[in-house]
Each structure stands twice: as structure tokens, then as C-alpha cells.
Symmetry: C2
Subunit: 172 residues, 2 copies
């Protein structure tokens, strides 16, 4: 299976801190390898790394990286999520699963160049909604959801429970 | 098919305005009938109604409604999404599709009573991530994504496009 990378564009540290945190954490939960964010944001980096340390795995974050730079030497397909794009159910079978993908997730306005640079402009519904929701559904469909309950060997592991909370902490 | 309602708890108007907006709009895109929000928030109501007016359909929003009140006379199953819950793939087949459902979406801390009141406590992955992402994947799986491209007879309709933007405006 290919590696999945996220490129978050249009990030404004004050206004977008929570939304970009959701983008990063949900992509991590769904198996992405890491995220690039176009605006420098050390607080965001620290928050995401703190979760990755406690809950395991090797998710990485780098801020202050433009989409031009992130995509320049990227070997693989570029997927841009937008409510204007082609239907996700029609696009999915065309995306190779033996190449890496980079998913571009925009905030408000996305430059026209991104639509041109992308190999696929894909909509998850043609209604205005949420880049977090669109990313989550896209990654779920692309991966089949296989990473959602994988063991990441973290300091803390949550065990599914029908009625309460079960958290296992590693002794070390 | 049953009707889907959302109950958003722990909403703080200033801090959560964007996240709760994402919860509302993504549930609308995925076919929910409407949302209850526990804290009064006229600005949020206006924003959501403005999208619903422009893009069609009959999504409703009511703020200042506690989860106790919303669930009291609700006929149907209550689904609470939490990273501590049972696996979504195991829970889904147990949720009836011929009854309405109300999906409770929490912010930071969720009172223990919610875990007790819910018919199903369901996780979408056992990693900390995003209530927006969890709700989106849950609703996608519950509905099969069938509402994502439905015609809602709005003032504006977006037509899927591989490379640009196609928006049709109604003449009236």
C-alpha cells in the first residue's frame, strides 16, 4: 500500500488552529504518514507531536512548507479535495494504490494553480461542508478504514468498550 | 430510511463556532435532517440557515436545547460517538435502519450520563482525532453516502468538474 501525505494550505495560525489540528489528527487516525502546513506554526507542531508521542506511531508534521515546495519533488499522485471536483465514487477507482498520494486540503480560497497541479480534483459531496469531513471520508474510502484500530504501540492505548472507558497505559 | 438528527453537546459559542459549524454542515451534506445545539447561539443558527437557503433542502437548527430535552421524547435509537466506544464496524449492523437515530457529538468532556443514556457508544477509530471526522465517517457508513450528490433544489447547485468550478444559479 502506498504512503499518504497531507498538504494543508491557507492555514492561519490563530483562526485555523483547531480546524488544522482536526485535519492532522484525523489523517493520523486514518493512516496518513504526516502533514505539511504552509504557514509556520510551532504551537500546532508541538500539539500534534504530543499526541503522536502518547498514542504511538510515526506521524510527522512540518509547518512553513508551501504546497509548491511539498509537491515539487513528490513522486506520486496529487489529490485535491474540493466541493467543485469530480465525484469521489467515480474518481476513486482511477487513483493508483501502488503509488504514494498527497492530499491537498484547502481552507477558504484555493489558488487556481492548485486545480491545475492536482492529478485529481475530487469532491466528497457537492454541498459546502467541511474539509475535515471530506478528508476523513476520502481517506476512509481510499484505505478501507484499515488503520482505525491498529496497534500503534503508544504509551496509551484505548480498548473499545460498549459502555465506559478502557485505557491501557504502558509500564516503562 | 430513517431520519437522522444530530445533538451537539458542550458547545461554547466563541471557542467552538467553527467546529460546530463543520459538524452541522457535514451532517447536512450527508443527509441529516437537522441539529440541536446545547448552548444558545443565534449567530451559528443564522450561518447554517443561510447555507441551507442558498443550497437547498430542509436542514433545521435549534440552539439552546439540552441533550436531556432533545433525547427525552425522541423515538428512535441514540448513538453516541466517542473514541472509547465499541468498534464502528461491529456496531453498525446492530443499528436498525427502520428507526430514526439521534447522533450525540461531544466537545471535550462528555458527562457519564450520556454513555448510559445512549443505545450505542461507538468509536470511529480508537485514536484521538476529530468529532467532525468521526461523525462524517459514521454517517457515510450508515447512509452509504447516498445523499452526497442529491439534488436539493437550491438557489445554487454545484456540478462535479474535473478541473474547474461549475455552479448553476436558479433563475427566479
Amino acid at each position: 500500500m502506498s504512503d499518504i501525505w497531507i498538504m494543508r494550505i491557507g492555514h492561519r495560525p490563530e483562526r485555523d488552529k483547531r480546524v488544522t489540528t482536526h485535519v492532522a489528527l484525523s489523517s493520523r487516525a486514518l493512516g496518513a504518514k504526516g502533514i505539511y502546513v504552509d504557514t509556520e506554526d510551532p504551537v500546532l507542531e508541538e500539539n500534534i507531536r504530543s499526541v503522536a508521542t502518547r498514542f504511538g506511531g510515526d506521524y510527522s508534521i512540518q509547518t512553513g512548507v508551501t504546497w509548491q515546495k511539498a509537491t515539487k519533488d513528490f513522486k506520486g499522485k496529487i489529490v485535491h479535495l474540493t466541493m467543485y471536483g469530480q465525484r469521489v465514487d467515480e474518481a476513486l477507482p482511477k487513483i493508483p494504490t501502488d503509488e504514494d498520494i498527497m492530499v491537498i486540503v484547502g481552507a477558504e480560497k484555493v489558488p487556481a494553480e492548485v486545480y491545475q497541479r492536482a492529478d485529481f480534483n475530487i469532491s466528497v459531496g457537492n454541498q459546502p461542508h467541511s474539509e475535515i469531513a471530506a478528508l476523513a471520508i476520502f481517506l476512509y474510502l481510499y484505505t478501507g478504514g484499515k488503520h482505525l484500530y491498529e496497534d500503534r504501540d503508544g504509551e496509551m492505548t484505548v480498548i473499545p468498550n460498549e459502555r465506559g472507558k478502557t485505557v491501557v497505559k504502558k509500564d516503562d
